[in-house]
Amino acid sequence: MNQDVAPLPGSHYDGLSFEDRMATVEFRVAARPHITVDSDVCRSCTTKACVHACPAQLFVPTSDGGVLFNYEQCFECGTCYMVCNTEGALTWSYPEGGHGVVFRRS
């Protein structure tokens, strides 16, 4: 193989968006959200650690300083409520039985 060829194509061109990444996981979405966020509390939070720490990118800061959340593609890992430093901002429980994430190869 020609060694002067710059990095092999596959290594940095895998064309994988975050949506594609999440599409590898099965989620049986429940009708009722198992996460709730009190955006009024979040407005006073300066760190908003949930936004970057959530492995599934479920939390999005809004222009008015609040936090928008999704629950559909949640790994149910617990990172968000553990890194949240603002009392009462985030409540978290398990989704209804049979729903939520389904891992098969993890």
Partner: protein, 279 residues
């Protein structure tokens, strides 16, 4: 027939997340992701509702491999009177399924099916079933309203956003869209009892084949749709070309065929055929 009238839920056990090999087109199934589709869940819910409304017992029936009994256990959580499993191949054609089911559904007032097809086709089992049962058929329903026993009003979609309302009289086969109802949750006691519930196994005592003038000759393998990829971002045209072609990157290793010439040729042709390059 001498069988008391009842409501039947004809439930299809499907893999909701099959894996398709993008190169070979082969499909890999997993029993853990197999079960009721949302359409079949809606059908079960409507069977339960019709049973309550008309005060009739509900039976659940499925055709498929032994693992398909899982959908009967789902149904058993609600306490239906009968659970019937008919042995059949996972990929058996619709008419074969309908012919296997029909003799067992003779006494049903309404047979509820899900409007779902595993092969992205039309989901034709209910239509074949109605034919064999000599029953009315109302397929692709979006909503139902039971009236006096043996009669219901249903709605379904037509092209161009139109709807049509149907008056349906028993005996009938209906199929419902996923949105027609949301399946209730089984009570805990039902779920515990479901594990012990008896499932009847019926032989596939098939209804006679009718004189179809259309015969299935062959089904080609599934071909995935092309995937849209973002263009490579490298500055160098050569790097972009390499990225696009995948040259110099690792790929499926070559498989060396070791056999006598005739057998080797057969294997090669078989591989090319299996992967859709020939025939």
């Amino acid at each position: 027939m001498g069988v008391p009238r009842y409501i039947a839920a004809a439930l299809k056990w499907v893999d909701l997340r099959p894996e398709v090999d993008p190169l070979a087109g082969t499909v890999r199934h997993d029993t853990r992701t197999s079960g009721l589709s949302l359409a079949d869940a809606a059908a079960l819910e409507w069977a339960l509702r019709l049973g309550e409304s008309w005060q009739l017992p509900v039976a659940a029936i499925t055709a498929g491999p032994p693992e398909a009994r899982a959908v009967l256990r789902d149904a058993a959580g609600f306490g239906p009177t009968r659970l019937v499993h008919v042995a059949a191949d996972r990929d058996a054609p619709s008419d074969a399924i309908a012919r296997a089911l029909a003799p067992l559904l003779a006494g049903a007032a309404v047979v509820c099916c899900g409007d779902y097809s595993a092969d992205r086709g039309s989901g034709s089992v209910p239509a074949f079933l109605a034919h064999h049962l000599q029953a009315a058929q109302a397929l692709g329903l979006t909503s139902l309203a039971p009236e006096h026993p043996g009669s219901l009003v249903a709605q379904r979609r037509l092209d161009g956003g139109r709807r049509e309302r149907l008056q349906v009289s028993a005996p009938a086969v209906i199929s419902v869209e996923p949105g027609a109802a949301q399946l209730r949750r089984a009570p805990l006691s039902g779920l515990l009892a479901a594990g012990r519930a008896a499932v009847e196994t019926a032989a596939a005592d098939q209804a006679p084949e009718y004189g179809s003038r259309v015969h299935l000759l062959r089904t080609t393998s599934y071909r995935p749709r092309p995937k849209v990829l973002a263009p490579p971002r490298d500055q160098l045209p050569r790097a972009r070309l390499l990225a696009l072609t995948g040259a110099l990157s690792e790929r499926m290793p070559p498989r060396v065929v070791r056999a006598a010439p005739e057998q080797a040729a057969d294997q090669l042709i078989g591989y090319l055929t299996d992967n859709g390059y020939l025939g």
